[in-house]
Point group: C2
């Protein structure tokens, strides 16, 4: 077992999960914990852009934790999105902005969740509360996470608090958040070098709810047609995932971050759940366009859960 | 459905649950919610003492909530300890100091839990963070809750933060917390006017864990023998509860708040779980003395859960 408290976000890490785990570690250190930020997977292209911009190296990757390991979770709480071996670990804190599900402890803990657009905004407030100085690098990490999760404040998950935090962080970081943000988001949409399997794994979340097991994977793009041109390979990779993980359905969401629409591909035995959730039929390509839909958490997962 | 946000603590309300629901309502009002403190049961004698001292009336009692009702939970999260109909309600916030179990939502929410001795201490920090003035009555409600949950800072659940809050609240309330606290705790131990059924219901928590259903009820006293003299009636009431609720076992804990010990009575098919949990045999009266044990949350429930 490692002596340090390990701090990490969800599997298939995105920019919020990676940046918030580092930001949380700085705060934990300040509060007297001996903490280390780790990650449960490879950095995506968007996060790589952030790290390259800041000239810093990604934290160490882990896949399991040992019995009794002290851990702090950021940006997730559900077991299926977390580290292997978590049931034997001691969760001392959770800092999150998601619904709570499939999460239980035997002891009291710190659990700070707020219905904001981004975990980094919750952390921004914690820094303020504890009067911890936000240095330039920390500000850039928080700012990148907020831009990523809120699509530059355009996502319906974005709250006043996210916008307020971004405004203050922009000043500390002395940067044009809009310009930096567009470059960062665009860097994240370049999937040309990825295989179809990598594309569907990139930001995939596995759910087990009401006896149904399913994945909702999302990819951001500046050009939906560009991604959709690879539909055949993507569908093949999805079908394989459905067979391997015994999924009831797999929803792949291609989100146009410029025009804020999404085109989805739904496969699997229970793909009619998607038709019921969005009150729209899948076309002959198992696809449908969802106008104005960009948020998995706020616009995609809730109607699915209501129609299981 | 009621338009106001309803704020309440657990069933079989204790002083922390009752006082924290009122304190949380004042904070919620300040933050722009239209909130009302309610309760899920009758006040105990200790809380009655607090209300009489302050010259205030207890909040309205409810037992169920309607579909879509907005609610805020304090001092609990587990479904079995909460309001009837909760599954259809919208939980907008939880402020707590317990482990998390049997709790799930479909949307993000505010969840502020800290491993402190008392919910009121979590609320004390929230008041500070939001720069909300703590008036004299609010200070007395917080102080009463802290004294109750930490047995005047003597319980092992008590943290530095509870002690720090109590010290500051004592100044605001301009009161001798020790003198007031002993009187308050003693008022809570007078069970002479209660039937055995009322005594075991007074502060009973129902658990459903790993296929086992059980109750851990607790009563505070300044004289264990005095309570134990009613053992026959208490056992009879416990047996009835076991039959009615199909419990695997029922643990009744008589806690001496002066000498900080507990004598327990264990009944039911699986009462050997108690023997395993505390590595001690029940005597011919189905009883055992637990030296230095006063906290259900920290010293009683965890070893039981580990031995289910």
């Amino acid at each position: 077992m490692e002596n340090k408290v390990l701090i990490f976000g969800h599997r298939n890490p995105d920019t919020d999960t990676i940046c918030s785990s580092i930001v949380a570690t700085k705060l934990a250190d300040y509060l007297g914990y001996d903490a280390e930020a780790v990650r449960l997977g490879k950095l995506n292209k968007e996060t790589e852009y952030v790290f390259k911009y800041l000239g810093i190296e990604p934290q160490r990757e882990i896949s399991t934790v040992e019995e009794g390991q002290k851990i702090i979770l950021v940006d997730h709480n559900e077991a299926s999105q977390s580290v292997e071996g978590r049931e034997g670990a001691e969760i001392i804190a959770v800092i999150d902005h998601h619904r709570i599900a499939d999460f239980a402890t035997t002891s009291p803990l710190y659990y700070i969740a707020k219905p904001y657009g981004c975990t980094a905004t919750v952390l921004f407030e914690l820094y303020k509360q504890h009067n911890v100085e936000i240095d330039k690098e920390t500000a850039m990490l928080m700012l990148s996470a907020i831009i990523s999760d809120t699509l530059l404040l355009k996502s319906p998950t974005c709250t006043e608090k996210d916008a307020l935090a971004l405004k203050q962080l922009e000043k500390i970081a002395k940067i044009d958040a809009n310009k930096y943000g567009i470059d960062m988001l665009k860097a994240g949409t370049d999937i040309s070098s990825f295989t179809a399997k990598e594309v569907i794994d990139m930001d995939a979340k596995l759910f087990s709810e009401k006896g149904k097991k399913f994945v909702v994977a999302q990819v951001n793009t500046a050009d939906i047609d560009d991604v959709f041109s690879r539909k055949e390979d993507i569908s093949f990779a999805m079908e394989k995932e459905i067979a391997d993980k015994e999924l009831d359905f797999f929803l792949f969401v291609i989100t146009d971050i410029v025009n804020t629409n999404s085109k989805v591909i739904a496969l699997g035995e229970d793909k009619d759940i998607i038709e019921n959730a969005f009150k729209k039929e899948l076309d002959e390509e198992d696809s449908m366009l969802l106008e104005g839909v960009v948020s998995r958490k706020k616009q995609i997962v809730p109607p699915i859960l209501d129609n299981l």
